[in-house]
């Protein structure tokens, strides 16, 4: 319990520092918040244009699809807001030896490396993504109860953990290879699959994007929970994937850390 409150204090200190930094560069915050908002709008416009020519995509109506897109965006924005900068800098710091700075801090290296910075623009746009989810739910005439909303929130948290784990694994590669270039692009490319309904995937693509890489399950499971109520198999699948991916991420990170030989590596 003591350890938990200590980590909470460390995280709050990092969050306070990030907020002060964000308010110092207000123009920058405004630009990046606009960037994220614009990308959400691009996705919404894409859905609107496609549905102006068809009534259903893989059995999903327009507002169901917007709910899926909003859910996927929500997970992505939370990841960007809470972890992106820290994890992304990890690769660079391992190469330059600046990772020593993280190791010298009073806490678990993975925690210290991934929670160093809070990106306010990502969190501001999580509100926009949440608004898209609420708008879609209203348009669908759904009235989820407190339990369903709590379960949806838990599933979103699982999704963030899975994305976080995948990113940590990708960035941990910098302990072995000299360049982790392209990781950012590969992450955003994979995210594109998470905005597609499960039913749109064929047999072959399902194996890769539904079963091997849980990009589809991460967004489809919470969206389905709001649309069709609690579905035990989807919830269990998501929970199992969360545990497996987090375990794998921690193992890969620790294994990489053992190889790290400081600034001279």
């Amino acid at each position: 319990m003591d350890s938990l409150s200590r980590y909470l204090r460390i995280w709050l200190a990092s969050a306070r520092y990030s907020l002060v930094r964000a308010t110092m560069f207000r123009g920058d915050l405004f630009i990046w918040a606009s960037v994220e908002l614009l990308w959400i709008s691009v996705n919404v416009i894409m859905v609107a244009v496609i549905y102006s020519h068809t009534r259903s995509v893989a059995g999903w109506s327009m507002y169901e699809m917007l709910l899926l897109v909003g859910t996927s965006m929500l997970i992505q924005r939370f990841l960007m807001g809470f972890f992106w900068s820290g994890i992304f800098e990890m690769g660079r710091n391992v190469r330059s030896g600046l990772f020593d700075f993280v190791l010298a801090q009073p806490g678990d290296p993975l925690f210290m490396a991934s929670t160093r910075k809070l990106e306010l623009d990502g969190l501001l746009n999580a509100v926009v993504a949440a608004a898209l989810v609420v708008y879609s739910v209203r348009k669908l005439g759904l009235h989820p109860g407190a339990g369903a909303i709590a379960l949806y929130a838990c599933m979103i948290a699982c999704g963030v953990v899975i994305h976080y784990s995948a990113l940590v694994i990708a960035m941990s590669l910098s302990f072995w290879i000299t360049s982790s270039q392209g990781v950012e692009g590969s992450y955003f490319t994979l995210m594109e699959f998470s905005r597609l309904p499960r039913e749109a995937f064929g047999r072959l693509t399902s194996i890769l994007f539904v079963w091997v890489l849980p990009v589809v399950v991460v967004s489809n499971a919470p969206a389905r929970e709001i649309l069709h109520g609690f579905q035990p198999w989807w919830a269990l699948g998501l929970l199992a994937a969360t545990g497996a991916w987090l375990g794998l991420a921690v193992a890969v990170f620790r294994s990489g850390l053992r190889r790290y030989t400081s600034a001279s590596s």
């Binding site: 920058d28 630009i31 990046w32 606009s34 960037v35 614009l38 990308w39 709008s41 691009v42 416009i45 894409m46 244009v49 496609i50 102006s52 020519h53 068809t54 259903s56 995509v57 893989a58 270039q181 392209g182 692009g185 590969s186 490319t189 994979l190 594109e192 699959f193 597609l196 309904p197 039913e199 749109a200 995937f201 064929g202 693509t205």
Partner: protein, 265 residues
């Protein structure tokens, strides 16, 4: 050989050093194509035509759009220019009888030769999977007008990137502006949805913007989405925008230089 010819050759060599970056980009291209295939395949299920186009025609459009980007897209020229300004490397060009726009254009052309080769390679790999879906028109005028349209598209893309790079004269960090413009260009350039699927009123506004000529226009000519009259009109508008943007690039360069301080020995 002229000095710009030499710059082209040096650009060719330095871009070949980064061949893995282009290879990674080709891999992302496959993933984007797969997303397009899954999404539009689901949208077309039960719909023989969307906006008057078959699934094959729409898939062909996206294949051509993606390949065009390898040949005429400005990927990171804005970033390279901003780095020249920020690091003071631009000072050497001020002391030599060399036009910075022409120099950068030569390097850009070299980069597109290398990335274009990777684009063709990616297409050859994808061909066995997409060949059955490719539906290209056979009228000769399409190639005759499509090639100059591609050239003007390259000029527009480069000039816009050049102008954004020049922002480094005024701002320390320009990545926010670049990604902001990328979102607009991606949507209004027709990389997310074919622009002819927009409502007619929106299409008639968008066709007068420079973004329309950054990807959609040459792709629409080559894939048969627009007729001869539209192509001729469009080519005139495209030439106008190319001229305006080249003039703007020159004006921004001159104004930026007034702001610039060349420090150091």
């Amino acid at each position: 050989m002229t000095k710009y010819g030499q710059a082209f050759l040096v650009g060719l060599q330095s871009n070949l050093v980064y061949r893995w970056n282009f290879a990674v980009r080709s891999l992302f291209w496959f993933c984007h194509l797969l997303v397009v295939f899954i999404l539009w395949g689901a949208a077309y299920a039960g719909n023989p035509s969307i906006g008057g186009y078959s699934f094959s025609q729409t898939l062909t459009y996206f294949v051509v759009i993606f390949i065009l980007q390898f040949f005429v897209g400005a990927f990171n020229e804005d970033y390279q220019i901003s780095e020249d300004i920020r690091n003071g490397l631009i000072n050497q060009f001020l002391l030599k009888p060399i036009n910075y726009f022409a120099y950068r254009m030569s390097v850009f052309a070299a980069a597109r030769v290398v990335s274009g080769a990777f684009g063709i390679l990616a297409l050859l790999v994808a061909l066995p999977f997409v060949r059955g879906y490719l539906d290209l028109p056979h009228e000769g005028w399409r190639l005759a007008l499509g090639i100059p349209a591609m050239g003007l598209t390259a000029l527009i893309q480069f000039s816009l990137a050049y102008c954004f790079g020049m922002l480094a004269f005024w701002f320390l960090e320009i990545q926010g502006f670049v990604i902001l413009s990328m979102a607009v260009e991606t949507l209004l350039g027709g990389q997310i949805v074919p622009l002819d699927l927009l409502p007619p009123a929106a299409f008639n506004v968008v066709r007068f913007l420079p973004f329309f000529y950054q990807a959609y226009f040459p792709a629409a000519i080559l894939t048969g989405r627009q007729g001869l009259d539209f192509a001729l009109q469009g080519l005139a508008i495209q030439a106008f925008w190319a001229f305006v943007l080249v003039c703007l690039a020159e004006a921004v360069w001159r104004r930026g230089l007034r702001h610039h301080t060349a420090a150091g020995g």
